[in-house]
């Protein structure tokens, strides 16, 4: 029962962070939320007994994708822009 609770919490966190990633107008915040998303999906892999994948996802999602993304934001623009 209690593992179900843990599982559900992680899945809810996934959905929330995905929604936040999409809805933020500030791309920096979106990148942060995407970092949380990949962290939580790594936890989900961990719970589903895939530690290799969890390390991989943590390394990529936490460290590198966020870093590359922030450099890209720095090189482009930070806000999404309201105009069509």
């Amino acid at each position: 029962m209690i593992e179900l609770v843990v599982h559900v919490l992680v899945l809810i966190g996934l959905i929330i962070s995905a929604v936040l990633t999409i809805t933020f107008k500030d791309l920096l915040a979106a990148a942060l939320a995407s970092g949380v998303f990949s962290l939580l999906i790594s936890v989900e892999f961990y719970i589903l007994q895939a530690p290799d994948v969890a390390i991989s996802q943590a390394a990529v999602g936490a460290g590198l994708t966020t870093a590359i993304f922030i450099i890209a934001i720095r090189a482009t623009q930070r806000f999404e822009g309201e105009t069509e």
Binding site: A18, Q49, L64, A72
Partner: protein, 114 residues
């Protein structure tokens, strides 16, 4: 035991990713949508390979018969690497686009039409 919650999550994440791809106008946001979509597929593959009460496919203790399937993990490893490579390439394209066009809004990146 866990019902089919991971699969439901996969469906929801897929919808969110597609929504980000189709409704957002910013290239970097579209990239984030693609990332979410990829993560959804990865989660689906891992969830397919899960066995109730299984342990990781690493022989740390005595041999156990109830291990989760190893192939999905191998597939997802490959898929994650492909995801990071995709992100890197797409972001560098975006940087060049911004340098040339002054924007990353897809509605304004349309010199090639008709």
């Amino acid at each position: 035991m866990f019902l089919n919650l991971p699969y439901v999550t996969v469906v929801l994440l897929t919808c969110l990713g597609i929504a980000a791809i189709l409704f957002k106008r910013n290239l970097l946001k579209i990239l984030l949508g693609i990332n979410i979509l990829e993560s959804a597929v990865n989660l689906l593959i891992i969830a397919i390979g899960y066995r109730e009460g299984g342990v990781a496919p690493i022989y740390t203790l005595a041999p156990s018969t109830n291990m989760v399937l190893p192939t999905p993990q191998a597939l997802v490893l490959t898929s994650i690497v492909i995801g990071v490579a995709t992100s890197a390439l797409l972001l560098s394209f975006s940087i060049i686009i911004y340098r040339k066009y002054g924007t990353v809004n897809v509605n304004l990146i349309r010199e090639l039409r008709e």
